[in-house]
Each structure stands twice: as structure tokens, then as C-alpha cells.
């Protein structure tokens, strides 16, 4: 975690810091680094798979009864149990499931008999779009506000930003979503309250449908971004190199953005990266509020319908996505701070 501090630092390639020799992606040592990071993920993925697999315990009692109903004969039930592999011991079932998952076979939805991976393929872009829009909104609001608060410290600007950020971090995002619908859809009738149209099909309608959901998550998240930006900027604006930049006669804007903000982005990106999980968690509930057919709604509907393959598939994708984002965030550090070598 050492490299997540901002400020002057003196890394040399010879300083024994593990990592690739350069930051070029074609460099073979970069490949080794990426492989090493991927290997480090293995224990995490194993634990995750155990947790997700235990969802098969979701079907209480005799699963065959639940799925096939009471009219099925005992023979049919026995055949179904064989199919599902429920007659084998739990560790064997786990290994069967895991090896199938590795080859991309995540089973069939119990309700619709549709392959889970097909369902995922349709829903992943939707959730990704929601997550990206929310993050963009949070950053667009949060970072400028945080900068303002840091530059005008202990003035009314600072006070207002801190107040707003507390407000934003306390507000339950799903309540905010409901309020937004009440205000903008029901009251003013400016925006549709729910539904989804894909970006490819109809960009304008897609945007109109995604504004409120993105605002729901983004506005809740902006508070944290504001606070983190303010803290990071405060620390950096007091550093010597900022004073040097000012002394050189650079305009305030250049000093703030090009020098201070650039270095502040390291702790800010760290926090953003750590919060991607929370963002996706928010997306899960928000998709339900606005009837957006994404991964989140897949999980919730899957739970209500006792459709465990569906729930498993969606959770796996979400966790893998978070782990990937963490690696990507780590990869951006060298670009933000040229001194940092992975």
C-alpha cells in the first residue's frame, strides 16, 4: 500500500521494488507482472466460488419437488436429481460446478431453461453503462467541488461543500431514487420513471431513461468523492513543489490542475477503485427501482424465483468485474505519477 501515498518519492529501478522494468505494455516484464497479479487473485476467486456455490443450498428441502411439482413421478424426480448431480456429495458437486464454470458453462436458468451465460451477455452492458454513467456523474460533481473546498478552505465554500458531502453520504440512495422519480417523473413529467432501451437502439431514449438511475447512484457517491478530493488537495496544496510552481509564475489554474490535481488523483483513484464494489451494490438495488434489466435485477429476481444458477452467474460476474477494476486502477498509477513503477 506504500505507493498509494501522494507526494515526492524516490523510487529507482534498482531499489528492489518488485515490478516491470518499464511501464510499456509490450514489455515482457509487464506481462509477468500481470500474470503475477492474476495468480494472486486465485485464492480470492476460490473463496468467492465457495460462497457462490453455497447458493445451491438455496433450494430448501427436496429441490425436485419445488422444480418439477407434485404431479411428477418419483422416477422423473430421480432422473432430475441425477441430471442436477444432487445425488453426489457436496465437494464433488462443487468440483463439477467449478470445472464447468471454468469452461464457461454456468448452467441453465431453472425457470426459463435459458443458458445463464446468454442471459449475462445481454445484461452486462446494461449494468456497465449504469455504473459508468454513475461514476462519471459522481466525479463530475465531486472533484470540482472538492477542489473548490480545498482552495477556499475555511470559507463558506468549504462549509457548503462539507455540508453537501455529509448530506450525500448519509442519504439512502434508494430513497433518493424514489424521491427523484416522484419529483421528475410524477410531478414534472420530464422523464420516464422506469424501463430501458439499449444505447444502440435509441441513444436519446436510453439517455432519458438512464439519467435518474445514474443520478440516484452518482449523487450518493459524489459526497465521498468531494471529501476525498478535498483531503487530497489540501495535503498537496501545502507541498513544496506547489509553492515552487507558483513561484515560477504559473497561473493558478495550471498549478491547480496540472500539478496539484495530477498528484491528488492517486489517493482519489484509490478510493474510487475501492468503492466500485459499493457502486455496483447500489446498482443492484437501483436497477430494481427503475426496472432496468441488468445484473442487479437478475440477482434479485433470481432470489425471488429460487433460480440459483442465475444468481450464481450474476454474482460471479460482478465480483470478477470488481477484481479486474482493482488491477486496472493499479495499472493507472504509473501514468498518474511517473515516479511510481508498478
Amino acid at each position: 500500500m506504500d505507493r498509494r501515498r501522494s507526494g515526492p518519492r524516490f523510487h529507482h529501478k534498482s531499489a528492489g521494488v518488485p515490478g516491470p522494468a518499464s511501464n510499456n505494455f509490450c514489455d515482457p516484464t509487464m506481462h509477468i507482472y500481470l500474470i503475477r497479479r492474476a495468480l494472486q487473485l486465485i485464492p480470492t476467486i476460490l473463496v468467492m466460488s465457495v460462497v457462490v456455490f453455497s447458493l445451491t443450498l438455496m433450494l430448501p428441502g427436496d429441490a425436485a419437488f419445488t422444480v418439477l411439482g407434485e404431479t411428477a413421478t418419483e422416477q422423473q424426480r430421480e432422473r432430475w436429481r441425477e441430471e442436477m448431480g444432487l445425488n453426489q456429495s457436496v465437494p464433488v458437486q462443487y468440483l463439477r460446478w467449478f470445472s464447468k464454470a471454468l469452461t464457461g458453462d454456468l448452467g441453465l436458468s431453472i425457470r426459463s431453461r435459458e443458458p445463464v451465460v446468454d442471459m449475462l451477455a445481454v445484461r452486462i452492458p446494461t449494468t456497465v453503462e449504469l455504473a459508468v454513467l454513475s461514476m462519471l456523474l459522481a466525479v463530475a460533481i465531486g472533484i470540482p467541488a472538492g477542489i473548490m473546498a480545498a482552495k477556499f478552505r475555511n470559507t463558506w465554500v468549504d462549509f457548503a461543500v462539507s455540508f453537501l458531502s455529509m448530506f450525500s453520504m448519509a442519504i439512502p440512495f434508494f430513497w433518493l431514487g424514489v424521491l427523484l422519480i416522484m419529483i421528475f417523473s410524477v410531478n414534472f413529467r420530464w422523464l420516464p420513471p422506469s424501463g430501458y432501451v439499449s444505447l444502440v437502439e435509441n441513444p436519446i431514449q436510453n439517455f432519458r431513461l438512464m439519467i435518474l438511475p445514474a443520478m440516484t447512484i452518482g449523487m450518493s457517491f459524489a459526497g465521498l468523492v468531494m471529501r476525498q478530493t478535498r483531503t487530497a488537495m489540501l495535503q498537496i496544496l501545502g507541498e513544496d513543489y506547489v509553492r515552487t510552481a507558483r513561484a515560477k509564475g504559473l497561473s493558478e489554474l495550471v498549478v491547480t490542475v496540472k500539478h496539484a490535481l495530477r498528484n491528488a488523483m492517486i489517493p482519489i483513484t484509490t478510493v474510487l477503485g475501492l468503492q466500485v464494489g459499493a457502486l455496483l451494490g447500489g446498482a443492484v438495488v437501483t436497477e430494481t427501482i427503475f426496472s432496468i434489466p441488468g445484473l442487479g435485477r437478475m440477482i434479485v429476481e433470481g432470489i425471488f424465483e429460487r433460480d440459483f444458477p442465475v444468481v450464481q452467474g450474476a454474482i460471479i460476474v460482478i465480483v470478477l468485474f470488481i477484481l479486474t477494476v482493482n488491477i486496472i486502477v493499479d495499472l493507472t498509477y504509473p501514468y498518474l505519477d511517473k515516479r511510481v513503477k508498478l
Binding site: T44, L46, L179, V285, V300
Partner: protein, 298 residues
């Protein structure tokens, strides 16, 4: 060289500038300091209302007023009534009981279990540390709500299962925090002395290491409390937490979504969640600042 008049004008202008800045500076400082007290005030108020719910509520939360269905806020029903005819204020007050109960129990359990795991992992190190922390990291790779949903999916939605789910979700955070603290305390002289004297491992962990480390756990607990509250209300919002007819804030907000013109049904329970979270956040921040101040004094 400035004339006497110019000098005094500049001085006056500078003084005015300073006092403007000072006023704002004082406001910010007072505000920050007051926040902790405000937070304690809110939380105490909510706890008070929850404990004394039968006394404080204007009506019985389960009583159905057949002739007063979907009534907007009025003197008789300050928060209005719901679709069945129950007083929303009373249900909100009783809902506080449910939410506080779940969050409190869940956080206490996760603090206890997580700290134990962290102590053991940090103290013994080696493969014990590796295995335990790998498991904790695996759990931490899930978003809180998603992991809670997964656990509820297995156990079924109920009040006690919500407690269990939240406890499991919050445990890894405590484990990681305490482990980190233990690692730095482990090599301190008083611990080494105790080991040299042959004090048992358990005793060292409990009597010598934990007291230095416990303060951070308490601060973390108060900060996690607000996150746990939001997760709990999100669960009941989805219908996967506390089951009706027990009043739960999140669930009440969800029900209000079917009655868009009856805004009070979603508004007030959500407002309650907001204030509870706000209070916990203020309190946690103040606690953390107090801990920092103490450390700075030392």
C-alpha cells in the same frame, strides 16, 4: 513609502479581510466540533424513541383505521396513513426498534468475531495468518449488499437472518483492521516481555494487545454502523429483510412506490433512515477525531 492615511487604510482593509475569514473559519470549526454532539443527540433521540416506542407513538402501529386509508399528514396522523390505514409515524417509530436492533447486534457480533480473527491472524502469523486473511479478502471482494443478498438467498428472509447476513458481511473489515494493528503492536517491548515471562498466548492477546487495539475497533464499529444500516434498509426495501407486518423503514419506502401521489408513505421512513445514518456518521467522525486528538496529545 505610503502616507499615514494610506497605511491605516490598508491596515483597516486587511483587518476587515481577516475578520471575514475568521468568521467563516470559526463557523467551520464550530460546525465540525458541534457535529459530534449533534450526532449523539440524533442517535440518542432515535434510541429513546425506539425504546419508549409504546409511550411515544401516537397510535398503535398495527391498528387499522378503516376510514382513514391513505390520509395525508394531518394533526391526527402527523406522517399520514398507509394503504391499509395505519399511522405511519407510529410505524416509523416502531421501525426504529427493528433497524437499531439488527444493526447493533450485527455490528457487535462482527466486532467480536472479526477482532478475534484479526488477533489470531496477526499474533500467530505464518500460515494461520495467510489462510485467514485470504478468506477475509475473498469475502471483501463482494459488494456488501451482494454478499448480504447471497446469504439471505441461502437462509431465507427474516429479521434474524438479516442480522446474521450483516454480521458476516462486516466481519472481514474488522479482521483486517485488527490484524494490521496487531502486527504493529506485536513487536512492542511489553509484549515481548510478557512472552519472555511465559505468559500464555491467549492471555497476551486479551490482556496486553487488545487494549491498545480496541479503540480503533470501536471507531470503526461506529463508522460501519451507518453502512450496515443502509444495507439493512436496502435489504428490507427489496423485500428480503424483515418481513411484513413488522414495520421496517426500507420496506415502507418500497411500499410507497406503489402510491406515487401519496408521497408521505415513502418520504418519512426514508427521512428516518437519513437522520439515523447522519447521526451515526457524525458520531463516528467525532469519535475518530477524538481518538486522533488523544494520539496527538500522547
Amino acid at each position: 513609502m505610503q502616507s499615514a492615511v494610506e497605511t491605516s487604510n490598508t491596515k483597516l482593509a486587511a483587518a476587515q479581510q481577516r475578520s471575514k475569514g475568521m468568521l467563516a473559519r470559526t463557523a467551520v470549526r464550530l460546525w465540525r466540533h458541534k457535529l459530534g454532539k449533534f450526532g449523539v443527540f440524533i442517535i440518542s433521540g432515535i434510541i429513546f424513541a425506539a425504546v419508549l416506542a409504546p409511550v411515544v407513538s401516537p397510535h398503535d402501529p398495527t391498528h387499522v383505521y378503516y376510514e382513514a386509508v391513505l390520509v395525508p399528514p394531518s394533526t391526527q396522523f402527523p406522517f399520514g396513513t398507509d394503504e391499509i390505514g395505519r399511522c405511519i409515524l407510529s410505524r416509523t417509530i416502531y421501525g426504529a426498534r427493528v433497524s437499531l436492533q439488527i444493526v447493533f447486534v450485527a455490528i457487535v457480533i462482527s466486532l467480536f468475531v472479526g477482532s478475534m480473527i484479526g488477533l489470531v491472524a496477526g499474533y500467530f502469523g505464518g500460515w494461520v495468518d495467510d489462510v485467514l486473511m485470504r478468506i477475509m479478502e475473498g469475502l471483501l471482494s463482494f459488494p456488501m449488499i451482494v454478499l448480504a443478498l447471497a446469504i439471505i438467498a441461502v437462509l431465507g428472509p427474516s429479521l434474524s437472518n438479516a442480522m446474521i447476513a450483516l454480521a458476516i458481511v462486516n466481519t472481514p473489515g474488522f479482521a483486517r483492521l485488527i490484524r494490521g494493528q496487531v502486527l504493529s503492536v506485536k513487536e512492542m517491548d511489553y509484549v515481548l516481555a510478557a512472552r519472555a515471562l511465559g505468559v500464555s498466548d491467549f492471555r497476551i492477546m486479551w490482556r496486553h494487545i487488545w487494549p491498545s487495539v480496541g479503540g480503533n475497533a470501536i471507531v470503526y464499529a461506529s463508522l460501519r454502523g451507518s453502512a450496515a444500516l443502509i444495507t439493512e434498509s436496502a435489504l428490507s426495501f427489496l423485500g428480503l429483510g424483515v418481513q411484513p407486518p413488522t414495520p421496517a423503514w426500507g420496506y415502507m419506502v418500497a411500499v410507497g412506490m406503489n402510491y406515487w401521489s401519496e408521497w408521505w408513505m415513502s418520504f418519512f421512513p426514508g427521512l428516518a433512515i437519513f437522520f439515523a445514518v447522519l447521526g451515526l456518521n457524525f458520531f463516528g467522525d467525532a469519535l475518530r477525531d477524538a481518538m486522533d486528538a488523544k494520539l496527538q496529545d500522547n
